[in-house]
Every structure is written in structure tokens, then in C-alpha cells.
Symmetry: C2
Subunit: 311 residues, 2 copies
């Protein structure tokens, strides 16, 4: 709408309230009463806009640089457009064309790299030297990102006073750290669980070992938003005591959750966005009889992949 | 949720508020500022639940009989479960298995017929004789249905004070008749347009000829919710003066609208549910520069068909 070129507005006016979805047929299938907080209709199609906007509104820098081939790049591009900042998004040249286009549509510069020649982190460091006026934004390990994501927790807690459990996808830990932050400051008793791909279970292993551990390389899970090497350090400090647990979700349950949300709740989610519902499929006994809220974190998925998933 | 077995509650507590979706990328593509009122997350996945619940709450009969192979059958089944009424849904034996299952999951009786042997109307008449206690519900030509659908108009008008135009799918005319009813009783000036498949353009021809005309047989449009032979008589009386116009939508624009809503708004709609956005693709000049609301009427679509549509 016309907001696209309007000056910066306060955070809560610009963020879309989360969409709450309930489906009796989905509840029957899952054996749990579930409310879904869907961020698929958030601006740019994922919760990442909350973090990106919080960064853009709170750093004094006139420009932002970030590395992201996914939802954070698009979110940062749109947040910078809304706040009148320049934005550069570093992406591998092998990224999907639709993802580059989405970033460019919001007026940001796409900086393509060959990851065989230079890593994303090294290219961001190069750009930071060239642009000392720019803020370097991490997609998850950043206090503004955590605070922006906490706004989703605040919204959910307003509605979920009677709920026992809140489950959210876990990648770098920015979302769950935000939710835990919100639970703590609201004095709520709801338990927060992370839903992490089994193939990328550095978070679950970190909890078990009591120290931050990493994956050996980028895990090839279908949930591409959770292909992080490790939790962010700031997030780990919040999550090590703040999470009630992490459910390690096999790939087949991710697929099944995407299908169920499509067929029983009319909800289009990306694989990462299905992780929380997939956690209920993975450990149904753990949550039986509880009132559960699941975060569907985003909806941006390649049509070809989505076709395969709902087959 | 637990409401499934609770006693009847007033209409406005049981109906889900419509979900309002806006997408800057969709606006850029359409060249119009659009807000989508999505009924895809309404109970049973379409606006038809509004009509069905209004019937179930307002007729004194302990049972309801209807003929529907689509959204109204599922909606009536769930509305009857919520209100403690018996429900029979007449369906052709060739209906999709998933549609029969959805009706049965809500506790209704599915009455299968061979349409080569007996018509739906004749079978409903037979059942009406056997069950004199039952109310026979039309999916669109019924004052309670129109009133139930008007509740969507009331909701939209609360939000759309500055809007110029409201576009909604047109099949039997129950939805648009409800919207026009709401506009009239609210004294609103918004113009209401119907979006009708060109292959099933009895409504547009009726407006042109100033009399109610019918299609020769069931039109084979992709928008299966608009495969009606003609507008309902009650709806025609409201629509003949109440509609600002009808856009006749070719099949290719229906497909394109399903794809755009999927890719730019993360919204899963059935072909009928995409008709209003498809009308903007069909006659872009007619609505340029206006603030437009489009009703996405439902989201229930066979996965196989949907896969083809988003390819």
C-alpha cells in the first residue's frame, strides 16, 4: 500500500499483527488443541520483518549491510525502504532468481558472490570497510533482532493466557530468544520449546552438553531457514536456561506438517515454517492434553519445491 | 478446539473474523491498492460457514438436508454439529473422496447418488418426504444464507471506510447479495462488483438483458463454486439493482490469480476464491487508481489441481 514510501513510523504501526489460525480438523489429526500464530502474512512473508524493522528504526546509521539468501534479506530491504536507509544484501550467485528479485523490488542492492572464491562473512567485512557508515546486521545474533522478535511473543502472550506450551522453529535462535525474552518480561509461565531439524541439531546438542556446539558444515535440511552452523552467542545465553526443551524433527515430519497445514488449515508455509507443527508429529505424547501454540514463521517457498511437498 | 461439542453460541462468537491481507508486491503487480478479505481461514475453509451457521441457528428444525458437493456441505455439517442438529448432505457418488470425508468428519450423513439415475433436486425432494422434520437448505437462494453472508459485508465495511470498490466471486449470487445487503443497511457508498467466470456468465447476461437467464448446463469452469445454472431468485432481486457491474473472467486469469496469490501474498485459495483478484487482471483499467477490496471466498482445493495451478 502507500506506506511503501512513507516516512518511518513507530514499530507497532508498521508491523502486521500475527494471524491466529485454528482448525478443528487439524486438531483431530494432531490430537492436541493447537493455535497457530502465522507470520506468513507478515510484511515480506515472514517474522524476520519484525527484526529487520527493529534494526532499521533503532540504529542511527544511514545504511545497512547484511548477508542473507533468505527471508532476512527481503525483510531488511523492505525495512530500509520504509525508513529511508540504503541496504545491501550479500547473496550467493547461485541463489534462486525469485529471491534476488524480491530484494531488488524493495529497492536494495544485491551483492552477488561466488562462495567458492569468497565467504559471505569475508565479503560483508570488505563491504563494511568500503562503507564505514553502514550498520552490519546479523539475521539472528543481534540485540535489536531479538527485541524485534520479542514483539511476536508479546502478541502471542496477550492471546495465550491459558496456554501451556509455545513451540517455534529453531535455527540461529533469534526467534526463540525473542519469545523467551517476552515470556520473562511478561512474567508468563508458558513453556517455550524449540523445533529444530534433526539434521541440524546443534541447538539440541548444545542444550545436552551445556555449551555452544556447532554443526560441521551447512546442514542440508529441507528447512533452509534452519541451516545455521550454530546458535548465535547472544541467543545461546538466553536459550540455555530459557528453553523447556528442543524437539529434533526428522525431515519426513517436516514434509508431513507442510502437507497437513495445506490440506487441513489452508495455510501455505515454507518447510522452516512448519517445524513447530512437525514437532507435534514427532513427539505427540510429550504434548498430549496440552493447549499448544505453534509459530508458523514464514511462507516463502519456491513453487516447484512446494508442489513436491503437497503431492 | 473444544467448541466442537459445545452448545450453540451466538453467531458472532462462533464465526471467525475475516483475515485481512495486504501485499506491496501484489499491489505493484496489479497496479491497484488491494486489501484482501480472506475467508480461507473461516471455519471449514470458506465463507459458506457464515451462511450455514446462520441457517442452523435460526431454523427451529432439528435436522437440515442440503445438496452440495462443495464448501456448503462441509459448512452445513459443521454448523449442525455445533448446534446439535442432524445433517444430511446429498453428493454425487463421483465426488472427490476428500470432500466426502470432510463432511463425515463433522458427523453428517453423506447421501450418495448416481446423477445419471436421479437428480440432486429429486433426491432432496425424496429425503424431504422421508424427513418432514428437516429444513431443506439451499446453498445460496435462502434468506438466512444471504443474512449470514451479509455478516462478512458488515466486517469489511468497518475496515473499508475509504475504499471505492468491493469485488467478490459470483456463482449463485448468495455472497454478493449478502454484501449488497450489508452495504445498503450501513448506508455505505462502496461499489460492489461480481467476478464471474466468462464460461459461466449467466449473471452478466442477466444484468445485460434485465431478466434472470440460465446457462444451458453446468458450466465447466475451473471455478467449481461458480458452476451454477443461474442466480438464485432472491439473489437476483437484490443484485439486479445492487451490483455496480459484473466482470467476466477468462479461465487464464483465474489461474494467474491463484498463482499470484500463492507467490506474492502467501495465500492458498481455490480457483473460485481467486475470482475477485482475477477480475483486476481481466479489466485493470476499470479499477486503476482505486482503493479496492477483494473477497477471497475459500481455500479448499484438491492438492493435485493446486499443484498444476502453481506450476
Amino acid at each position: 500500500m502507500s506506506e511503501a514510501h512513507s516516512p518511518a513510523r513507530p514499530f507497532h504501526e508498521a508491523v502486521r499483527p500475527t494471524t491466529i489460525i485454528q482448525s478443528p480438523r487439524l486438531n483431530s489429526r494432531l490430537g492436541v488443541d493447537v493455535a497457530i500464530a502465522s507470520e506468513t502474512f507478515q510484511h515480506t512473508g515472514s517474522f524476520k520483518f519484525r527484526a529487520a524493522l527493529y534494526v532499521a528504526l533503532n540504529v542511527p546509521h544511514p545504511a545497512v549491510i547484511t548477508a542473507s539468501s533468505g527471508n532476512f534479506g527481503q525483510a531488511m530491504a523492505y525495512a530500509c525502504r520504509l525508513t529511508g536507509k540504503a541496504c545491501t544484501v550479500v547473496m550467493p550467485s547461485t541463489s534462486a532468481q525469485v529471491k534476488m528479485e524480491a530484494v531488488r523490488e524493495f529497492g536494495a542492492t544485491v551483492d552477488l558472490i561466488d562462495v567458492k572464491i569468497i565467504s559471505r562473512a569475508d565479503r560483508v567485512a570488505e563491504l563494511a570497510l568500503e562503507h564505514p557508515e553502514a550498520y552490519i546486521a546479523s539475521a539472528y545474533d543481534d540485540p535489536y533482532v531479538i527485541e524485534g522478535n520479542a514483539s511476536l511473543g508479546d502478541e502471542i502472550l496477550e492471546q495465550a493466557r491459558q496456554a501451556d506450551t509455545l513451540i517455534a522453529p529453531l535455527g540461529g535462535g533469534g526467534l526463540t530468544a525473542g519469545l523467551v525474552t517476552a515470556v520473562r518480561r511478561n512474567g508468563a509461565t508458558i513453556q517455550v520449546f524449540g523445533a529444530e531439524p534433526l539434521l541440524a541439531n546443534d541447538g539440541a546438542r548444545s542444550l545436552r552438553e551445556g555449551r555452544l556446539v556447532s554443526n560441521d558444515g551447512e546442514p542440508q535440511t529441507l528447512a533452509d531457514g534452519a541451516r545455521t552452523i550454530s546458535l548465535g552467542r547472544r541467543n545461546w545465553e538466553i536459550l540455555r536456561d530459557g528453553l523447556a526443551g528442543i524437539v529434533e524433527v526428522p525431515e519426513e515430519q517436516i514434509r508431513e506438517a507442510v502437507r497437513l497445514l495445506f490440506s487441513l488449515a489452508n495455510l501455505k508455509v515454507e518447510p522452516t515454517g512448519a517445524l513447530a507443527v512437525a514437532a507435534l508429529l514427532t513427539e505427540p505424547e510429550r504434548f498430549r492434553g496440552q493447549a499448544v501454540w505453534c509459530v508458523a514463521s514464514g511462507g516463502n517457498v519456491d513453487p516447484g519445491l512446494y508442489r513436491d511437498l503437497i503431492a
